[in-house]
């Protein structure tokens, strides 16, 4: 069964999962999600790239109150989000599995259910601890 995701343009591939960013041919800057131009150097020669799938926690917080719409969930519980340093770019996303983190700990990309549409789980990306 094909996966349903929150936004297909976020992904270079789903199995194995990889995020789709873009890299600038002029200055080398990498951004996420992919853009049509480079905000770092104003260049327009950019190419889509699959981002590295492993990195380290660059910062984190735990969301203790339920965000307002358009937030969607089946049942709210406090969840962590963070910035993960993937090397060429630092990406914001869910931190999965717990609500306390350390800056610098290694994590890897995975998929997680954001909410359920009828019987269909809608997936988004997140990062889980590697150890």
């Amino acid at each position: 069964m094909p996966l349903t995701v929150v936004d297909e343009t976020l992904f270079a591939s789903l199995d194995p999962v990889a995020l789709r960013g873009s890299a600038c041919s002029d200055c080398g800057a990498t951004v996420f999600p992919a853009l049509g131009s480079c905000p770092m150097c104003t260049g327009v020669d950019v190419q889509p790239v699959a981002l590295p799938t492993e990195g380290v926690v660059w910062s984190w917080t735990t969301q203790h109150f339920e965000p307002k719409p358009p937030y969607r969930t089946d049942a709210f519980a406090p969840f962590s989000i963070g910035y993960v340093d993937l090397g060429p770019v630092i990406v914001e996303g869910w931190l999965l599995g717990r609500t306390t983190w350390q800056i610098g700990e290694p994590v890897r990309l995975t998929l997680a259910t954001a909410w359920t549409d009828g019987d269909t789980p809608v997936q988004t990306y997140g990062f889980e601890a590697t150890s």
Partner: protein, 387 residues
């Protein structure tokens, strides 16, 4: 050094604010009350105003305030730059007087936000719906992620955030126009309900209502209107460059961190010919406690990492080395977005004139500084002086 009251010097000659907090009336009531108060403060009427600038983040049109104040035909510019609106409005008014060679400008900022406002829409920021749907489009988490990283990089104890809250509510308890005036201890602030780690309920400001107006005069005219005019020594506005860490960022660059606050403060100090170490009273954007900690250093007032010691020493209290946010800041005044930056200027003006509404900085301070910062990565700073 330019001569006193040269024609290209701009002075603040009048200032007034409303009480901040919840407000049942119309947005325009706040604006009108502030404008009439500021004009009365320097003995002028609306007829005397040559140039006006109004800022709000709400739905009303500031330039239509003329329907209440009088149809004098004056040029009235509207600005809408989020949290930095007040600084931009002041800069626009100064530039207007200098460009047109006229004498009197009136600046007004106001807003009347409903409880729990600031519901951001992804499309408005050019981000896909997924960002809001997955619970990441939340301003409080942005502030938390930013200060969490900052505390880590500079080895600052999270308890420092509690000191910032305690200070804000201590100042506000003595300030008649502040909103939240109940003292909070460091322990209470640190132990309160966690909103977004490491920030608790007592470390965030809330949207509310308020209006502030400032009257500017050019050159010699200022000394006829005001006993102690405050010179707008400089005002600088800057936007973000690569490497800044702004709200609703799906990605950050791994290189050097920059900040529009660093750039705006540097430009303001440079234009004024004044060093950050000369500042005797300051107002900094403290959307939450962490923002004050970061902005103390980004503006050049304190070394990165030295903030914790400063709070523990009482440096930022009224009798300290550098009193900061002496009216309680955003933490205690809330944030009516359009009024907030002008509130900062209002407070520093009164401090320099020796007539603060709340606690007065002792010893006759002569050099003040204000800093606003907001989405999507802009900052405006002013340097204010009296002779």
């Amino acid at each position: 050094m330019s001569g006193r009251a040269a024609d290209d010097e701009i002075y603040i000659v009048g200032a007034a604010r409303t009480t901040f907090g919840r407000f049942d009336g119309e947005d325009n009531d706040l604006a009108e009350q502030a404008v009439r108060g500021a004009l009365a403060d320097c003995g002028l009427t609306w007829k005397d105003v040559d140039f006006a600038v109004g800022g709000t983040n709400g739905e009303t049109k500031p330039d239509n305030l003329v329907a209440r104040l009088g149809l004098t035909g004056l040029p009235f510019v509207t600005v809408k730059n989020g949290c930095a609106t007040g600084g931009v409005a002041l800069m626009t008014a100064r530039n207007g007087l200098l460009a047109e060679g006229t004498d009197i400008a009136c600046v007004v900022g106001y807003d009347n936000h409903a409880r729990g406002a600031f519901n951001a829409s992804p499309a408005r920021y050019g981000i896909g719906d997924w960002y809001g749907q997955t619970g990441m489009m939340v301003t409080t988490s942005y502030f938390a992620l930013k200060i969490q990283r900052y505390l880590h990089e500079h080895g600052i104890d999270p308890r420092t955030l509690g000191y910032a809250s305690e200070k804000a509510f201590d100042y506000a308890a003595a300030h008649p126009y502040a909103w939240r005036r109940k003292p909070v201890t460091v322990d209470e602030a640190v132990d309160a309900d966690m909103i977004n780690d490491p920030l608790t309920r007592f470390m965030f400001c809330s949207p509310d209502a308020g209006g502030v107006s400032i009257v500017l005069a050019r050159g010699r005219r200022a000394f006829d209107l005001c006993e102690k005019p405050v010179r707008l020594a400089s005002v600088a506005l800057r936007g973000r460059r690569p490497g800044s860490f702004e709200v609703f960022s799906t990605w950050l660059s791994p290189g050097e961190r920059t900040s529009p606050s660093i750039d705006a403060a540097k430009a303001a100090f440079s234009a004024a010919g004044i060093m950050p170490s000369d500042v005797q009273v300051a107002q900094l954007q403290d959307t939450e406690s962490g923002a004050e900690v970061i902005h103390l250093a980004e503006t050049g007032l304190v070394e990165h990492g030295a903030q914790e010691e400063g709070y523990r020493n009482g440096d930022y209290l009224i009798d300290g080395r550098l009193p900061v946010n002496t009216d309680g800041g955003l933490l205690a005044n809330g944030e009516p977005v359009g009024a907030s930056g002008l509130r900062q200027v209002h407070e520093v003006v009164l401090q320099l004139q020796g007539r603060a509404d709340g606690k007065q900085v002792p010893g006759g301070p002569t050099i003040g500084f204000t800093h606003v910062y907001g989405a999507p990565g802009i900052s405006a700073c002013t340097v204010l002086t009296v002779d």
